[in-house]
Symmetry: C2
Subunit: 348 residues, 2 copies
């Protein structure tokens, strides 16, 4: 008997990356100006002299943000910055954005002004122009779609699939804070909903809350690469957690890796907060996401330069593929890293 073809596959069965792979696997590139399509932080378009880099991110109310504790100005700022981060992750410079916004009529003009003021603030700080967009209504909720356009010299672009064996794996800043901040905000929201007279208890956790509500993109690290004439061998920004991103680099490059748990940079107030919200800080760093730090690999010959970068930590090294993708725990055990990163298509 022939099995009938299933005609209804739920989105959560494939997950976000599976779905994107599934929907884009058949693409045939026709334009000779298209250097790189789907599959890295940004697409690459050849302009003749240089490359244009293009990336789109969509933020959906109730999925990516909760307006209970997210000020609209912060939301606008974050929506812009996470796009800039995609361009930096290619070793490029963001130059222009377009902004598409759909809002239900529960939003006022003043609320949209707040949202845009955050977008403009980010544009001001990162020297990016808002050049176009679309504003329309939605039946419910707020949707923000931002497309960023950047530039890079052709020889400067860094991909995620070009790591080499023995390269050092580096991370900018610290990890896990944005997720820990989110857990705290969610906890205090639950407390408030249970008893609206309770005031939120955020004392001492300014840093992880700021990391969640107002992340920055690592423009400074790209400037350092430029200043010291270093080019990473591969790079990606950490939007879905260290685990998910190192898997992208290793699988894309056909390599394995060893990441040392004790080397993963975690801020002290985030450590304390993880304790308070009862989550392992390494788990927050590996699977939390939204840190928008850069994960990159460098050739060992560049180690002497990189070790002078205050905001960069070496957390491991690239191995042969057969070694697998492993975390070396504090006790010296090797544990395979699996992606449990945030998936926008998961079932809640």
């Amino acid at each position: 008997m022939i099995e009938p073809k299933p005609t209804h596959t739920s989105l959560s069965e494939l997950g976000e990356f599976g779905l994107i792979d599934h929907l884009t696997s058949g693409i045939v590139i026709k334009q000779k100006s298209t250097v790189k399509g789907v599959g890295d932080d940004a697409a690459i378009i050849d302009n003749g002299n240089s490359y244009s880099l293009v990336s789109t991110d969509l933020l959906v109310e109730g999925v990516h943000f909760d307006l209970t504790y997210t000020p609209l100005k912060h939301l606008g700022y974050k929506a812009a910055v996470v796009n800039f981060s995609d361009i930096y992750a290619m070793n490029g410079t963001p130059k222009q954005i377009t902004v598409g916004i759909a809002v239900s009529n529960r939003f006022s003009v003043e609320a949209l002004e707040e949202l845009y003021s955050g977008i403009y603030l980010a544009c001001e700080k990162y020297n990016v122009d808002l050049v176009g967009g679309d504003t329309t209504s939605s039946k419910s909720g707020l949707f923000i779609s931002i497309t960023v356009i950047g530039t890079a010299e052709k020889q400067d672009v860094v991909y995620r699939n070009t790591a080499n064996e023995h390269d050092l794996i580096c991370v900018s800043g610290d990890l896990g804070s944005a997720y820990a901040g989110l857990l705290l905000l969610e906890r205090e929201k639950a407390v408030f909903l249970a008893d609206p007279n309770m005031q939120p208890d955020l004392e001492g956790y300014d840093y992880p809350i700021e990391r969640q509500l107002k992340p920055e993109a690592r423009k400074d690290i790209i400037a350092l690469f430029n200043e010291h004439h270093i080019k990473p061998t591969s790079m990606i920004d950490i939007s879905d957690g260290l685990a998910s991103e190192i898997i992208h680099i290793c699988k894309g490059s056909g390599k394995g890796c060893a990441i040392y748990e004790e080397k993963i940079p975690i801020d002290i107030s985030t450590m304390n907060l993880c304790d308070s919200v009862n989550i392992d800080p390494t788990t927050a760093a590996l699977n939390g996401g939204e840190d928008y730090e850069l994960l990159f690999t460098i050739s060992q010959k560049d180690y002497d330069i990189i070790k002078g970068f205050l905001e960069v930590c070496v957390v491991g090294h690239i191995t042969d593929e057969s070694y697998g993708i492993n975390l070396i725990s504090r006790s010296g055990q090797s544990v395979p890293i699996t992606a449990q990163g945030w998936d926008a298509l998961r079932k809640d």
Copy 2:
């Protein structure tokens, strides 16, 4: 006494164009590569050799489309084509798109495949590459955000605010069909909802229905300009109706115009359909929208060439600003044209 500042202005008070003006009026362009920001069919970025053109459109379920009568494949096709139309309206060529989609979990993988198959079909036909995007979930409904990137030689770009007095006003194809098709589909939906045993009566109206569900962008007209070495003096695509678009051209150019009702091209089956759904065909052409034809002005010296274009009609001429923006009715009366085009932020 000092009046308290109002703190809640509803979106519908400003309308779509008013809101965009309000939110973008303070923009200061910082990048010297930004040639043109908000305010035309597409933004313009200088690449050195040529210009990149960038435009974003957002389509929202329940606002821009109704899945009761819109096949997902058609929707995908239309979502892509309306973006291409913005690039042609600058006298450019669309080259790449990014696609952001947010869907609720009532959609299956197969449904998204249908949507993407329409996008790919449009890309195939217009020779455009899908190079990136974002797929995520929504709490309810389907949102499609497409950004298109095109190119144009610097000297070829046509703006909407550069019409000159005595220029001829031209329209490609015919107008009002997409709106008439929408009214028919809405009527038959209402009939079906009242009695699900009723079959929709769409007989004889293939053309307006196709114009609504599967519009095309006027790549062919841009090719003709190129072939005959003609450059319009101004151009815009007709997404919101002839009235709204000619007002954009005239106000942007600081001019007036006379458009002759009898010259407005309307298809015969659309005429019949307008009769059947009880709407004046001229109203459908002026205020209906979604035709995605090109509205452009040419210098009188190019008339001899343009009159050989089968798919182009001269519908009027540009005047001095003091004359106003007028429709000359069949009876010879001059009536000021006002924008009653479709506004995505109107109150329903």
